[in-house]
């Protein structure tokens, strides 16, 4: 209580200093929430691609390819030693015009030929309804982020690219790419995809063999990365073949750089806040020189004085951190709920980020308070008592 009273003895100054820390923590919470969300997306992708080899058109990167290829390539790929099973996949954008810039993955349509059943280890849990089967023509399952956008309910019909589909299942939120994906059977997806392509391109494609990627599963005990070269040799230069290591390299390094960048910006904001704590505490010590002399005269040792001023700086840091976290939480929640960033939620405020941000502001307050407090602790009591 006494510490709080001392901090707020100069209310405006204390509030401005706390506000400085608040801005830093707010920046850390908001940008950190973006980083956490992207990290989760990347981790989800890394997990998904960890046991497979992806074949796409040579002009695109595996896993991100939306250029059409022929599913006939599956037969050639499955001939490679060590490949246990291949599955045809078709991915395309749910809508042609992505209305907002999305930091995550845009809403997608995805379909497979169900040959991956029993091989695919990346399972999605259902919130309602059931999973799709190969016989579910005209039916879809929907990722959690698209429920409100499509008005999806199990048993109700939704419009996807001008065609109506019945929703048979809704997935639990995973905070990864499937949240913004509609799943349908391969023939349905092939029909829709063909319509998305320019006529000149579509005329030369066979609907029934239309795909955007081939997913290959390795035999037990075979490292999928070791298959990449053999599959590449088998299929030739027209195809891009990537294993788990390739995917990791492609997404994790830029992600790390992005993380460093946004955390650096937030940390700079916090350090500026920390400097304002040093400034405030230095002024406070100077103004309270006589008080320090009195405290020493009545028996306070250096440690007691140090502790008192460090505690005041810590309170400034802690309050700034808590307010910054609270404001950050409001901004993150409001933005996620408003959907201004598209169907996919942009922010993810994790417990580790929340605790870490407040802990960091507390430590920053303590560190910023150390020098002025040490100066206070070393004041000569007689000189301090004479101070007017």
């Amino acid at each position: 209580m006494q510490t709080l009273r001392n901090v707020f003895r100069r209310k405006t100054r204390a509030l401005l200093t706390i506000f400085g820390i608040t801005i830093g923590v707010l920046a850390l919470v908001v940008t950190g929430s973006v980083a956490e969300k992207l990290q989760l997306l990347v981790d989800g992708g890394v997990e998904y691609y960890s046991d497979k080899v992806i074949v796409t058109d040579g002009s695109t990167f595996a896993g991100f390819g939306m250029s059409p290829i022929s599913s006939e390539v599956l037969e050639d790929a499955e001939k490679v030693d060590g490949v246990a099973r291949g599955s045809v996949t078709l991915n395309f954008l749910l809508e042609d015009d992505v209305q907002t810039i999305s930091m995550g993955t845009p809403p997608m349509v995805e379909a497979t030929d169900f040959r991956d059943v029993g091989y695919e280890t990346f399972e999605l849990a259902l919130a309602e309804g059931r999973d799709l089967t190969a016989a579910d023509s005209g039916k879809v399952t929907v990722g959690a982020d698209l429920v409100s956008q499509l008005g999806a309910e199990v048993g109700r019909r939704v419009r996807i690219r001008a065609r109506e589909f019945e929703v048979v299942g809704i997935y639990e939120r995973t905070l990864t790419a499937p949240d913004s994906t509609v799943f349908m059977t391969l023939p349905d997806a092939q029909r829709l995809f063909l319509k998305t392509l320019p006529d000149a391109v579509a005329e030369n494609l066979e609907r029934k063999t239309l795909a955007t990627s081939i997913v290959l599963f390795a035999d037990d005990g075979v490292d999928p990365d070791e298959l990449v070269e053999a599959v590449s040799d088998e299929l030739g230069d027209s195809y891009n073949v990537q294993g788990p290591a390739g995917f990791k390299e492609f997404v994790q390094e830029p992600m790390q750089i992005f993380n460093y960048l946004i955390y650096t910006v937030a940390l700079i904001a916090l350090v500026v806040g920390g400097l304002s704590v040093i400034n405030t505490m230095t002024i406070s010590v100077s103004e309270r020189t006589r008080e320090i002399g009195i405290r020493k005269a009545i028996g306070a040792n250096r440690l007691a004085i140090l502790r008192q001023f460090v505690a005041e700086a810590a309170v400034i840091g802690l309050l700034g951190g808590l307010i910054g976290l609270g404001l950050g939480y409001l901004i993150v929640e409001a933005t996620n709920r408003s959907g201004v960033m598209g169907a996919t939620q942009l922010f993810l405020l994790t417990p580790r980020l929340a605790i870490g941000s407040v802990a960091f502001s507390l430590v920053l307050g303590i560190l910023a308070g150390l020098w002025p407090s040490w100066h206070a602790a070393r004041l000569d009591p007689v000189q301090a008592l004479r101070y007017e």
């Binding site: 001392n6 009195i294 028996g299």
Partner: protein, 239 residues
Amino acid sequence: MGLALQMEGVTRRYRLGADNYVDALRGVDLSVEAGDMVAIMGPSGSGKSTLMHIAGGLDTPDSGAVWLEGTRIDTLSDRRLTALRSRRIGFVFQGFNLLPALTALENTALAGQYGGMSRRQASRRATELLALLGLGERARHRPSELSGGEQQRVAIARALMNEPCLLMADEPTGNLDSATSAEIMTELERLNREHGMTLMLVTHDPGVAALCRRRVEMHDGSIVGDGGGGRVVSAEADA
């Protein structure tokens, strides 16, 4: 009774500029019997406050030696000197020197906490002391809500928190009107008489000094007179 305080050949010089010094104490010898009540008098700049600061362990001499209840204190480390000061010496200042943000109770209890009491123990003792000094009803008030006399009584209560062997008061009535001065002096005298508390009072006021059993006169950093009780030994005589 033994000696509460003993000073031998104490000197203290303050630097005022690059080549400018003032000798605040020039070889002071002083002994104070436990239970005595001593007035230190003298004009401004005579060294009274410096003497009190050194005797109370707030400052250290440039040379000479200081003993408090037989313990030499001028050679103690800062940590040990602070510990001793908090438990064995109480200070009362002319300007009261209460912390404005704290209540009378908190101001008083603070000394107990610095002296090693728990918050609860300190609060209990502070309440008792404030009641003893007639401030039971004013314990929750801040200094700005108290009269000068009340503030000085809070300062006395604070000085008594750790049951010191020596209470040092620097112009304790300097900021008070004559009626309140008389009340405070009555209080201090009672502490000395009833509790055997050793008192050293720095004062300009002959009326205050007259209430003390012994009067030490200072001039230019030296003791120039001693009005009885205890003893004053010059550096030459001691040698």
